[in-house]
């Protein structure tokens, strides 16, 4: 018998690229409108992906193909595990494993730019990992389980208990979604400080795989935001969609209004926010919940 969890995981694997691509397209359109431009068509990310996959495959080192496929595989596994209702801590560990494969794909090339990008990617991990762990622990404290299937079952949304953790998570989401001011490892389109950072030496077709993995990751991360909202009431799913839309709009706004910071500033600020917002929130929880 096929359970609801399995169906949701299969839906994730099949439809996350569509949703992720569409979210990316909407993001680019909103970004353009904020700059008073017309902007690309809504389906532009799909045109880009189609073109990237149709170009001649080139790679600097043959092992890059393996690393990029592994990156995609582990990202899909991360989201699949979350939608299967499995342990959220485990999801985060698998996500870290995926990032390690991206790191290797960049450093095997020997290019300075991609090596700098790769080491910055590790710094980004250092910056966001404490908050991610605290988020998982906070969910456990509220629901008594790390499993996503249990987290979504309570009567009251976790955000009621975890406003500070939510703020900290939104903060590190900027790092995770590679938005300015924290896009230090990829250095996005117009500002080519380190060419394209970690993706500098990734050829067209592998870059298509990278884009696909990014879309899966976006859907996974926004799914994490939804975990803060969803409770046993089915209407909470609608509320989660609204919150996700607001959070994504906020990310684009931050992206368009801030300049890139140095990596040490990123670590200091993100740890400070994590400690103050999430740490204080968890201390209060310990006091009240015992």
């Amino acid at each position: 018998m096929i359970s609801g969890k399995l169906i949701s995981a299969i839906c994730y694997v099949l439809f996350a690229p569509l949703i992720g691509g569409l979210i990316d397209g909407i993001g680019r359109k909103i970004s353009a409108r904020m700059q008073r431009r017309v902007g690309p068509p809504l389906l532009q990310p799909f045109y880009d992906l189609g073109k990237l996959l149709h170009k001649d495959p080139i790679h600097v080192a043959p092992s890059q193909n393996f690393f990029m496929m592994s990156y995609l595989f582990f990202i899909v596994m991360t989201g699949g595990m979350m939608f299967l209702g499995m342990d959220i801590l485990m999801c985060m560990f698998v996500l870290s494993t995926a990032v390690m494969f991206l790191y290797f794909a960049a450093v095997v090339t020997g290019s300075h730019y991609s090596s700098i990008g790769a080491s910055r990617e590790l710094l980004q991990m250092v910056a966001y990992e404490p908050c991610v762990l605290l988020t998982c622990i906070a969910f456990y404290m509220v629901r008594g389980s790390f499993e996503t299937a249990e987290i979504i079952k309570g009567d009251i949304s976790p955000i009621v208990y975890l406003p500070g953790v939510f703020v900290a998570f939104i903060f590190i989401l900027t790092i995770k979604m590679r938005k300015s001011p924290f896009d230090i490892s990829t250095s996005h389109h117009p500002n080519q400080e380190i060419v394209k950072g970690i993706t500098s030496e990734i050829g067209s077709r592998n870059f298509g795989i990278y884009t696909l993995a990014e879309w899966y990751e976006t859907v996974f991360l926004l799914g994490m935001v939804a975990l803060f909202i969803i409770n046993s009431n089915p209407w909470s799913i609608l509320a989660a969609v609204v919150v996700i839309a607001l959070v994504y709009f906020l990310e684009i706004l931050i992206d368009n209004t801030s300049a890139r910071v140095k990596s040490d500033v990123m670590i200091k600020v993100s740890w400070a926010v994590t400690l103050v917002a999430a740490g204080f929130n968890i201390l209060v929880l310990i006091y009240f919940l015992g």
């Binding site: 680019r28 353009a32 700059q35 008073r36 431009r37 017309v38 902007g39 690309p40 068509p41 532009q44 045109y47 880009d48 189609g50 073109k51 990237l52 149709h54 170009k55 001649d56 495959p57 080139i58 389109h189 117009p190 080519q192 060419v195 394209k196 993706t199 500098s200 030496e201 990734i202 050829g203 067209s204 077709r205 870059f207």
Partner: protein, 163 residues
């Protein structure tokens, strides 16, 4: 057949330009001209780029650089020479260090004249380049070799020089 025409990613290389054309290339991306509505993105990475925009003439120092950038791009690829210097060498043509236009080292597909080339002309040149790009893709998917195409192009440029 896949339509590749909606997503041309451009890489801009400044040879020995006076920066006039470079400013105009950047102007294409501003809200006034907004090249992104055609899916044009200015990427800094040759490995992900489809169209190489060359501004300025080619001199003895940057000739190997242009050649390497071109070689790093994945097929199908298109070269657009922007401005009269990239087309022929322009006012610098007779300088001791100038080899001439971009076609001295790589096969150029579209020439955009002007000093400096206007943003409208540059966008028009890129859009023309997209047509060549689609043609090359169709050839590539049929299994035909693209190198012949390039050699033919090189011969043509040699012939035109002889004249």
């Amino acid at each position: 057949m896949y339509k590749i025409t909606r997503s041309p990613w451009v890489m801009h290389y400044d040879g020995s330009s006076c920066n006039g054309c470079d400013i105009e290339v950047l102007a294409c991306l501003t809200p006034v001209y907004d090249a992104e509505r055609f899916g044009i993105i200015n990427t800094g990475d040759p490995m992900q780029a489809d169209i190489l925009l060359v501004t300025g003439g080619i001199n003895t120092q940057n000739a190997p650089v242009v050649k390497q950038l071109y070689d790093q791009m994945a097929d199908p690829k298109v070269v657009v020479a922007v401005g009269v210097c990239a087309c022929t060498g322009g006012v610098f043509k007779d300088c001791y260090n100038i080899l001439g236009g971009a076609d001295q080292v790589i096969p150029v597909d579209v020439y955009v004249p002007g000093c400096a080339a206007r943003p409208q002309a540059i966008i028009d040149g890129i859009v023309k380049g997209i047509g060549v790009f689609q043609e090359r893709l169709e050839k590539m998917e049929k299994g035909e070799s693209l190198t012949e195409d390039k050699e033919k192009k090189a011969e043509e440029t040699a012939e035109s020089e002889d004249k």
